[in-house]
Symmetry: C2
Subunit: 768 residues, 2 copies
Amino acid sequence: MAKVADIYFKTHPWKVIEEGFDPAYGRVSESIFSLANESIGVRGYFEEGGSLDSLRGAYANGVYDIAHIGKSYKGIVEKTHFMIPTADWLLTGLTLDGETLDLGRVKFRDFRRELDMRAGTLTRSFVWETASGKELKLTFLRFLDMEHRERAYQRLTLEALNFDGAVRLCAGVSFAVTHEGHGACFWGDTRKEAGANRLCLQSRTKESNQEVFAGVLLTLPKGAEVQSGDKALYLCCHLPLRKGTAQTLDRRAVILFDGSQGDELWARGKQALQAAEQVSLEQAVAAQRAYWDRFWSILDIELEPAGTDEEMIRAVAAEQQGIRFCSFQLAQTYNGGSTRHNIGAKGLTGEAYNGHAFWDTESCCLPFYLFTNPEAARDLLLFRYNTLPMARERAKMLDCQGACYPIATLNGDEACPLWQHASLQLQPSTAVAYGIWHYVHLTEDEDFLFAYGAEMLLEIARFLKSRAALGNRTGQFGFFGVMGPDEFHMMVNNNAYTNYMGMRTLSFAAQVMDRMAAERPDAFRKLSSRTGFTAAEADEWKHIAENMYLPMGADGLIEQHDGFFDLPHTDIGSIPVSQFPLYDHWSYDRIYRTDMIKQPDVLMMLYLYNSSFSEEVKRVNYRFYQPRTIHESSLSPAIHSILAAELHEMDEAVNFFGYATRLDLDNYNRNTREGLHITSIAMAWANIVYGFAGLRSDGALLRFAPRLPQRWKKLTFELTYRGRLLRVCMERGQTRFSLQAGAPMTLQVYDGLHTLGTEELLVPNLCD
Amino acid sequence: MAKVADIYFKTHPWKVIEEGFDPAYGRVSESIFSLANESIGVRGYFEEGGSLDSLRGAYANGVYDIAHIGKSYKGIVEKTHFMIPTADWLLTGLTLDGETLDLGRVKFRDFRRELDMRAGTLTRSFVWETASGKELKLTFLRFLDMEHRERAYQRLTLEALNFDGAVRLCAGVSFAVTHEGHGACFWGDTRKEAGANRLCLQSRTKESNQEVFAGVLLTLPKGAEVQSGDKALYLCCHLPLRKGTAQTLDRRAVILFDGSQGDELWARGKQALQAAEQVSLEQAVAAQRAYWDRFWSILDIELEPAGTDEEMIRAVAAEQQGIRFCSFQLAQTYNGGSTRHNIGAKGLTGEAYNGHAFWDTESCCLPFYLFTNPEAARDLLLFRYNTLPMARERAKMLDCQGACYPIATLNGDEACPLWQHASLQLQPSTAVAYGIWHYVHLTEDEDFLFAYGAEMLLEIARFLKSRAALGNRTGQFGFFGVMGPDEFHMMVNNNAYTNYMGMRTLSFAAQVMDRMAAERPDAFRKLSSRTGFTAAEADEWKHIAENMYLPMGADGLIEQHDGFFDLPHTDIGSIPVSQFPLYDHWSYDRIYRTDMIKQPDVLMMLYLYNSSFSEEVKRVNYRFYQPRTIHESSLSPAIHSILAAELHEMDEAVNFFGYATRLDLDNYNRNTREGLHITSIAMAWANIVYGFAGLRSDGALLRFAPRLPQRWKKLTFELTYRGRLLRVCMERGQTRFSLQAGAPMTLQVYDGLHTLGTEELLVPNLCD
């Protein structure tokens, strides 16, 4: 782990605080202070704009445009799609004494920005000192409604500290927004309507033909004048200020993207704006707080330091803030509000990765939702069900049968123009199958399984069957020409992860079809007739699964893929820090020809199907692969931390955890400016629950194996599980399990079985 | 060999004839009737243009422009270059009775086009019948001067068959020419000057800043008027015709591209035009004929059919025409006129492959030149010497040392934007080393070796050293993450061809440096000081060469690369013909995951270093790999034919040969419309000399093993060899060797050694 923290923000248990403003961190702060409510998101940019470096991004989930790449070889995508910024609803221009507010140019003091994770609000305040000596205190509050997801709010408070006078204010909304990478605006003709206190716009993307309505209501003094700009509207006025008296301007905004278009969307947008008008900003703030209170009551992870040493207290406080920040961001990005959305690698916090969701959703994010918000987990899987037609098309493009899920997508279509990823990585498809299995395993939601899961499994199994082949020397099945999770080895054969996940998928799919035939004969008949499924197919899946090649030696060491053990060795410790990320500093092909691996591959499968492998197998493989892993994926450290904890390598576990939990707050990867690592953030949660509490959820019972790091006195968290709310409190020496709600259950803790009822269960820690 | 002939042209021993015109073959004919003289080339397009499908391409060797691809990963080219058409000097518009000549629209008869390979001229004639009933016979003659390579000629003969009257004629020259793939003209501002009978233009490319002068002299009646067009000039006049009297108009053109620019080029161009004016068209025709007479006296391969059966006579006549067409085209494309040129895969006959030269030059074309025009072979190697600086740059881009030669280039820079080829294929570099070795081995030109060869070898060896690595399991050196000659397997390890060629290269380079130190100490000191070479480097090369891993089993079977024998099997006979070429019909990734191979890989190395492998090794590997080879490279069949002949598989040898020798004349690959397969054409020559005459040139002596196919009575050809002209006449039962010039020599025929002096040497055939 050559990566180190770059500390800028203040530590606080429930807040992220910026005191004073350093322009060098401008974009990092914008990412950190991003807000979202799943439907819409906005980076922490300054309402007033200005000359400072900024990525002024407000986004609506699922809004994208299309770029045509052109035809090359068959199976390589000819067009891609990418998230574009949508209406900027925060525009607020201020002029005082002929000076325009621009923090890059004017004099100011007492700058403070605060993200309050309990309130779900972002506040920024500072005092503007004009050249003529006037001092105006400005406070900007903003938040996005977590219940009415089309609604957003802004409150601007102005307080003249040493003068009476007027400030000129222009508040607007605009579709003239630029996608940074493409350097272009993707919005076309824009419908506009302005009233005394309201501005309505509606625009359409150039290629994807998506329409968005954006309206704002403003509490401005009477007589504000309307100004019309390119795809934009403004209300401008002179605002009289009296020394010492704070004046407040509220803005309620609606950003509506619901699939409707034209007049229908326009009518719905205006209706939504009318509904928003019925709620005062104070009421909205209170509702927001109530939402987050409910959220934290289930989801909070509490840490206490083990000693009184200041260094330790500081470190644990940073971890406490880090883990709350992770949970907060994850819940903002996705919480099951829609089955049309997935979880972009950067969520709604930036344009890097094009807003695309990867296989991270099922492999890394799903457990967070399974144990905090199972409905959201189900909705994520329904996103895959809804995009099954595109996955079927993709399989055809690849000369395969069934359905192949995309490595990168917003709308279900494969959007990755790099064939080596899009055509060779089977893990998105096996991850969907794994996600279905994990969801049903934990929730027992068999209605979902048979109504949606079975069809996905059936088509994924068909894809895998058509993609698998019989090795000439092994005489067993395997996948040839693939790229496993370790993206530093391309087009390899018999990648252990891919073979193993393929085997589990085929065997699960066959088993589900068998059960469905017996248990839901009507639904089974309908599905069979719709898809042409025959029992012979399932037999073939079983045959392939039973004869899948898994290259494990007598000592339990698994060869990542054919020939991996023959590769030249790279001592990863010898690579200078200045050469990271390797993709930027090494010749592309050079990355691919040694035993250095990018992220867990064999270890990933030991994590996902943990109960299927002995501790000895995990130890042997962890010891072999960990020193060969360079963690160029931000998902990598947490997986290592979880396995290290299981293997009692607590120093390594804690070391990897530090990175996972404050990845963005301390800008470990030096690219937080591009947006937050949303899917890695999910792994920070898993790092605690699967790592230090030792949760395993792939066996018949929930199993815990608490291993409390030395520097913590206490770690508390709650999980939802089949209608229960289970509280786990790890202390030095023992762990307390209690049911906050729900029926008694049997738990496994280490090797022992325990019944948990109304009484608290105390289990001594085995390995403090 | 699923590919079949598509017969259109008439067979003739010295000509290619088109009788009547079928527009469906319009572009195929344009390719077949291409002319070139190494410096300039022109497709067989109609002078008058028209509405028929056409690729109107006139090219100057080395003229290209540049496209910026943009930055992606390190080592992937950010810009590429591609041959563009240069001045169209043949423009000839004709109007009669208000009708414009356009063979797509007017009525005509008696169309005939003839490429005369002994004269080096192309003639086209037909009778134009206007709607009003006038009949005008037109004959267009054109040729490119093989001595004064900037000169080109056209003669237009007009004969009014049934009328007196006038035809309107516009003769021009133009830089307003479009690159078909880019759909754009790459020529910028154009300088123009027109006189009574001359038109001069000079233009500059947009990005590459190359300048070309184009001038024409026209024998037009007095009073022709000048017309100026976009980047073009014309002379137009009314030409009185008298019934039954042929009238002749001559055009002498100069296309000058010599590296000079601006006023200097303008002056040189006009000078060259003046010089051209001193030679009449008749004189030029005679000189052209004399050039080709000299050429054929060395290079002709004569065939005689073995029987009187008409079918057989026809078949052998087609082969005779085919092999002459191949030699003719090859000599037109490159004959050592310049060390700034190489041999584009399509020569100067089309824009496919962007005019790029590949490793085909050294691996496939060089023997043709070594035995017919050794100076040209030397010049081809000097092209590589001149581009050594770019190869050094390329090695740096790839994080390697030394020099890495490009997979595709016009100017020495890597121009292939596909990283999987440009970064993984080491064969261009080892082919250059092989070419140096083969050239010096055959010519004993040690001045070349030490003045140029040594430096190239030294830098290639450095590249290979830095690219090689120690396999972890084999404990031997190898190349990891490569693509061998078989492009259907990408990023493989220990590719046998690459390892073996690397071993030979390293060992040859070390040996040359050792010899140079001893034999040319001054030059050695200079080279060492210029390149920083130390003896320790050569020791390291030897060490790697001695410890190179070559995966050959006890039975002699060589595994193409690690894991090849484990790949799923594809029965290539089961692939429907409609799926060729596979790149167009199969998902890109699907091509790469079976044991189907595109072109010889192990067999290529057995061909190049033939004397180093036993017949048994060749047999075992031929039998294994031949049925797995799909021949998607047009270079493939000839290599198979040569090895089949050596292994007495004469039916297969003859079968593969049929394809090689008439590949373009019979449009086997259905893509001759894009241009001729110039480098494959070289293999047709090798197919006869190395295949049926069994020449082997990699041993101490020239070795022959004649194997005359049943249907030939006689096969005669000549070779130049160390100042000798050796004639080989294979007959049924015996082969006659005779020296046309030069000192006595020792030859090996089959296993016997023979001295060849002034007397003819008769050796009985062993395997008729």
